[in-house]
């Protein structure tokens, strides 16, 4: 009996091996980075987008972005319109006088640094990989530019860099966080709508953010387990 059970366990383990092998869970020790977004605090000023483009050599044109801000307008008749804030767009007209509007808000977006990243799974050459501290990076020296990862990311977080012809996306400013600096977008955000930190440190602002808020992630049904956590997320947001 126990022999059969062990065999069954072994069989099940074998079947799910591919899923398990990619799903390395949070590092027990060391850092495990996460990102918080307080939706209610975002005023749609777009400074984060500017800072990100300047910091990370992202082309100025609007077709290539590592992080962006969406503006939602939900009307009384149930329709919702969404737009991306153009980078550098300072003043967004105040929609308050419009009586047909039920609510309106901004949602910052970026790579979710998924725990089960489909982009890592599909990369044929291993150019997209996840670091020990849970950040998904692209190695531009080995990326062949096949763009499979761009197709596989459910969040539209990736683009092909027109100069290097390799895949690119948010890295949590990996070059900064290693030196104990905050990601550029977090640093410039005037309202602290963006929060960053180590999830393994109980006292970090990030951990506090997770404790103090009701948290939601994007597209949870896809089992990507995003590490960008939203507080006050509206059901309209996908």
């Amino acid at each position: 009996m126990s022999g059969r059970r062990r065999f069954l366990q072994w069989l099940v383990a074998l079947l799910f091996f591919p899923a398990r092998s990619i799903a390395k869970e949070a590092a027990a020790k060391g850092s495990w980075y996460g990102f918080g977004v307080a939706v209610d605090r975002c005023i749609g000023c777009g400074r984060c987008m500017d800072a990100c483009k300047a910091e990370n050599d992202v082309p100025r044109e609007p077709f290539f972005v590592r992080t962006w801000v969406e503006r939602y307008v939900v009307r009384k008749d149930g329709t919702t319109t969404v737009k991306t804030i153009a980078p550098g767009e300072e003043a967004v007209p105040d929609p308050a006088p419009d009586k047909s509007i039920l609510r309106s808000f901004f949602v910052p977006k970026l790579c979710n640094q998924c725990v089960h990243p489909p982009c890592v799974q599909v990369c044929p050459v291993g150019a997209t990989f996840r670091t020990e501290d849970g950040v998904v990076l692209v190695n531009p020296k080995t990326c062949i530019g096949c763009r499979y990862c761009i197709q596989a990311c459910p969040y539209g977080a990736r683009y092909l860099h027109p100069a290097t012809r390799t895949a690119d996306k948010c890295t949590f400013c990996y070059h900064r966080i290693g030196r104990d600096l905050l990601p550029a977008c977090v640093e410039v955000c005037p309202t602290q709508a963006r929060i960053f930190g180590d999830l393994n440190t109980t006292a970090s602002p990030m951990s506090r953010f997770l404790r103090m808020n009701r948290i939601h992630v994007l597209k949870p049904a896809l089992n990507t387990e995003p590490k960008v956590y939203y507080a006050g997320l509206d059901g309209e947001v996908r």
Binding site: V82, K83, V125, G145, P162, R238
Partner: protein
């Protein structure tokens, strides 16, 4: 920076409907990736047609046996070209073979491909032509003699036992070959079907749909080539062969069509989150290529034409020339239909936003690596290679039924 790209994206930006994520304006898999599954589909289909003769002993199809094999080879040689040219860094292509990531469906491409080329197709072609090559080396002089010697790998054995061995080797290869052909195209379908981020692609049926459309395109193309080449080379079209092959084609189209309908009904019946944007996609962007070309002209019309010839051939012994014409038209329609299938899967799957809130646009350029011109070159190149192969390993005797 790439001014041309910026201009294109700027144009596309104006055609966006609704909301899309900002990185979604660029359509990343363009015309080359449409051509790629089309080419591999022909390979798998042509090979399966050839297997009908060897494994299932369908004698009538013998005249197109060698033609099918050589067609499969010429298309297989061009297929990776489409894939490599579309890479941002084509010069790093070998990385897929040297440092493959086992979890990636695409990384397996190199291995499936190499297996199919080396272990199946080349071997089968070699065994089929071995004695012929030895004979040709005897006939020819000078350089060509050397070429045939080398091609036959300097084997000289034309004894009965040697030929007996060829026959059993061929049987074994074909038996391995059929699942391999299924694998080759099934895996191309899997590349799309496994992208869970994209509801247009993400379906377990996709690899099977790809497989059957591959069989359809392969049989149709080889028949088309046969009907053109046989008269050109002084032979006669063997109508027994064509009738039989068209019958197989007919069933394959029915299975293909039913599978696509099942997939479609399943989506509509489940009616998940994405159904709204997908129906908008079909109505707004793909109406012409999906409803008109793929389904009506590429499937239903040829099905009707073939059905008509099948019924009336028995009843009123339909005139042979008329039958030929109807077949010919159906085969061409089917080719367009299958190409449209590839287009609708690849391009269609990138025209809606993963936010399910909008549609983007795709404009096919004429020039450039993703342009129409280069795609046409890739579509014609296999035919050129085939012409060369037919010169080198002529199948005329078999094709004209003289052996």
């Amino acid at each position: 920076m790439n001014q041309e790209l910026l201009r294109q994206l700027g144009e596309a930006l104006h055609q966006v409907q609704g909301f899309i994520y900002p990185n979604e304006i660029e359509i990343h898999w363009g015309m080359l990736i449409v051509v790629y599954p089309y080419l591999t589909g022909v390979v798998a289909g042509a090979f399966i047609l050839a297997s009908l003769v060897k494994v299932f002993n369908v004698k009538e199809v013998q005249p197109i046996y060698r033609l099918s094999l050589l067609t499969a080879l010429s298309y297989l040689l061009v297929a990776p070209l489409a894939l490599v040219s579309h890479l941002g860094h084509p010069e790093r292509f070998y990385e897929i073979l040297l440092t493959p990531q086992p979890s990636s469906a695409m990384a397996m491409f190199g291995f499936v491909y190499a297996w199919y080329l080396m272990a199946v197709l080349l071997l089968e072609i070699w065994f089929v032509h071995r004695t012929d090559m030895i004979a040709m080396a005897e006939e020819r002089k000078g350089l060509m003699r050397g070429v045939y010697r080398a091609l036959s790998l300097f084997s000289r054995d034309t004894s009965g036992r040697g030929m007996e061995f060829d026959r059993s080797a061929l049987k074994a290869i074909t038996v391995v070959g059929i699942p391999s052909a299924f694998l080759l195209h099934g895996y191309v379908g899997f590349i799309f079907g496994s992208v869970k981020a994209n509801p247009w692609w993400s379906s377990v049926l996709i690899p099977i749909v790809f497989l059957f459309s591959a069989i359809v395109s392969g049989i149709a193309l080889v028949l088309l080539l046969y009907m053109v080449i046989a008269p050109l080379t002084g032979g006669k079209i063997d109508m027994m062969c064509v009738d039989r092959a068209v019958r197989f084609l007919f069933y394959a189209v029915i299975v293909d069509f039913s599978l696509e309908m099942v997939d479609f009904i399943h989506r509509v019946y489940q009616s998940e989150e994405e159904i709204k944007i997908l129906s908008e996609l079909v109505v707004n962007k793909l109406f012409m290529s999906l409803v008109i070309i793929q389904v009506l002209l590429g499937m239903l019309l040829p099905l009707c034409l073939i059905a008509v010839t099948m019924i009336f051939r028995r009843r009123f012994s339909l005139n042979e020339d008329l039958r030929k014409m109807l077949y010919f038209v159906s085969l061409i329609l089917i080719q367009f239909g299958i190409f449209a299938t590839r287009w609708n899967v690849v391009i269609g799957g990138q025209m809606f936003s993963k936010s399910f809130r909008g549609l983007t646009a795709y404009k096919l350029e004429f020039r450039g690596i993703e342009g129409l011109l280069y795609a046409l070159v890739l579509l014609v190149l296999p035919i050129v290679i085939l012409a060369g192969l037919l010169k080198l390993l002529p199948p005329w005797k078999e094709m004209h039924g003289e052996s």
